[in-house]
Symmetry: C3
Subunit: 284 residues, 3 copies
């Protein structure tokens, strides 16, 4: 086994399937039944980021989903404390926002190849990647506002900078589905294309970048991050606000009500999540 393979074996991934091809590492997210971001997936992301920080055999990482319908639809809302604690293993702080920010700071280039539903913290994960390409039938959703909360892991910061004030507010306050075409028009993703083209486009791009000198790539990323990466304090503040709001009785009741309506437990509900959220009524 190579040094890299030994590290992978030691990481004992449960929800990530790794496949290295040259200097490109393909990482398939495989957390059945629908790739919720829970303690297991967060634990594996911590291990992966730690591995990539100390390894030079990979130049580019491509994230895909093993599930056709879901990339990462959102966190496991019944295990908020647990997954936040799992994130603390890397930075000492129970915040997936800070975890994702460390992903953005890696020297390796990260590309999200998005198919299926991506929302909540899943959207925050892809926003922390360096680039995002989406299949035309992918769907995007930032749902926290429907529950009286805010995105706590970076989406508010990234979307405001990428989309501008008005479009970010539309995405954040509507808590509704966005098509891939709309997401591309707003700048939520780099581009959208058919599923077949997507796969070859991303692989070609990843291999192309992997052949360029590492030092130029690292300097470009560092200089771009100096301008455009949301500051750590801002991410941490959003994370704290999310954590506090998620612990209130009202928040717990709202989530319990949504779970009754199929949220997180029914794949059919999740595939029409925007519509379902529109039927929640806080004044009921």
């Amino acid at each position: 086994m190579s040094d890299f393979e030994e590290k992978v074996a030691a990481s004992n991934f449960k929800t990530l399937r790794l496949n290295r091809n040259g200097k490109v590492l393909f990482v398939s997210i495989d957390a059945p039944p629908m790739n919720l971001l829970g303690p297991a997936l967060v634990t594996d992301l911590v291990s992966l980021i730690d591995l990539l920080e100390h390894d030079e055999s990979c130049a580019v990482v491509v994230f895909t989903s093993a599930n056709d319908d879901f990339f990462i639809p959102h966190v496991d809302v019944l295990k908020i404390k647990e997954y936040r604690q799992a994130a603390a293993r890397l930075s000492g702080v129970p915040s997936i926002g800070l975890l994702f920010r460390q992903l953005s700071l890696l020297n390796v280039v990260t590309i999200a190849q998005i198919e299926g539903q991506v929302g909540g913290a899943g959207s925050e994960f892809v926003l922390a990647c360096d680039m995002r390409f989406a299949s035309t039938d992918a769907r995007f959703l930032q749902m926290e506002c429907a529950f009286g909360n805010i995105p706590g892991a970076g989406a508010l910061q990234h979307l405001t900078r990428l989309l501008g004030r008005a479009r970010a507010l539309e995405v954040l306050l509507s808590a509704d589905d966005f098509t891939a075409a709309q997401a591309a028009e707003y700048g939520w993703v780099n581009r959208t294309m058919g599923a077949d083209e997507l796969k070859s486009h991303v692989a070609t791009l990843a291999h192309r970048i992997s052949r360029f000198p590492a030092e130029g790539i690292a300097t470009v990323k560092r200089r771009v991050n100096d301008i455009a990466l949301p500051p750590m304090e801002a991410i941490r503040k959003d994370s704290d606000l999310f954590g506090e709001a998620s612990q209130t009785e009202a928040a717990k009741l709202r989530i319990a009500h949504a779970v009754e309506l199929g949220f997180q437990v029914s794949q059919a509900t999740e595939l029409g999540l925007g519509a379902m959220l529109g039927r929640l009524d806080d004044s009921e």
Copy 2:
């Protein structure tokens, strides 16, 4: 009468027609003959913002125009001193830029539903709203540069942040008409759609947001404003520069010349304003 209705009655609006439906307040701008932003409309906007700052019965406000051809085409250029003074009632400063900034800071969500011509301070008003949706036949124009002045109520600040340096300079320096499609492509508005779809889209979105918990909405707006709302000092500086430039003899001559050509007095001229401004020549 409800508490809200009493406040509305006390406000004695002359140019705004209010119609509340659940927690959504529809405000139709009705200042004949063509919705110029003059002392009366500014006075009413001051009253409305004051009312919304101290009322919790509305969650979302939708601004529409009672005039098919004009949303707000620009200020009343013959009453600059008067409308600026009317704005001072809220903040103590004679600046509609600061007034509009208070609109952006409200906890309630504001949506502009734009039909007809919107320009100058009308554009600055919709840029201060949280979202902007435009009918496909709406037209946009930032005309100050044609008169040797700058937008003094926030458009320069907002457009530069939303459109980037080059497209903002194109809009600001050309002082020309932009179609709704172009405005959407540049990010001046969120989206454009046909007039029928526009009405139902905005109403559906407004009611959807109005059912979400107020505290999440307020936190989202506060955090987004922390990132993307132009700073008060910048707005105030632009406002001062506009005020000074509008008091010069040259500016008064230019406006008088434009009025001779139909500016502000002829609806036909106003509907082809971009073309008319191109015929002004400062070196004549």
Copy 3:
């Protein structure tokens, strides 16, 4: 001769053809065989900026190319030291990034009318202009990363602000060709249109702006620059990083290898530059 014509004669331009029409100055870039940005063109740009800083007879400058296939494809990579030294004549610092930043600070309005291939420092030049309009068959490329370097004359700064983190990283890290349509979608240029329309659109816009009062234009530019022009220190830092990286043995070998493959010496190679760069392999 007018005062302006005397200054032009004194400047003794070798690579720029000037043609003034009213207050609009058309500047055609003519540095055969393919408009590389080398010492001669930099020397002329220094003279032109110096001339424009001290002249009030021009209100708008339009940059075009005398070469149908190339606007400015990149610097002369065999004369990096020489062209940087030529740039030092204006600011004292051997940095074309600082030179281009002085272009952005001029009171006159600058418009790039782009046909053919524009890349590397050519892209950085047009990014420093106030507006950029491209022919539908223009092509864009930021190639520094393929050589282990970064754009050192402002493109990293401008693109990150205009395109956002993910799309800027795609452009910078891919070092690949972008069509004019893609460049317009991403905000790299204001708009794209057919070559015939392009010429008349830019001329009409330039003459329109040239008739507006100079003081309003200057104030608009100053206020927009206050918000969106990359800071001098950031440009200078990128410039230093570029200078250092270009002096390493590895960088010189990479460039020598690329020149063997036709880079800079073969017009056919230059017209398919993105593909050629993809065949460079640093690990070979």
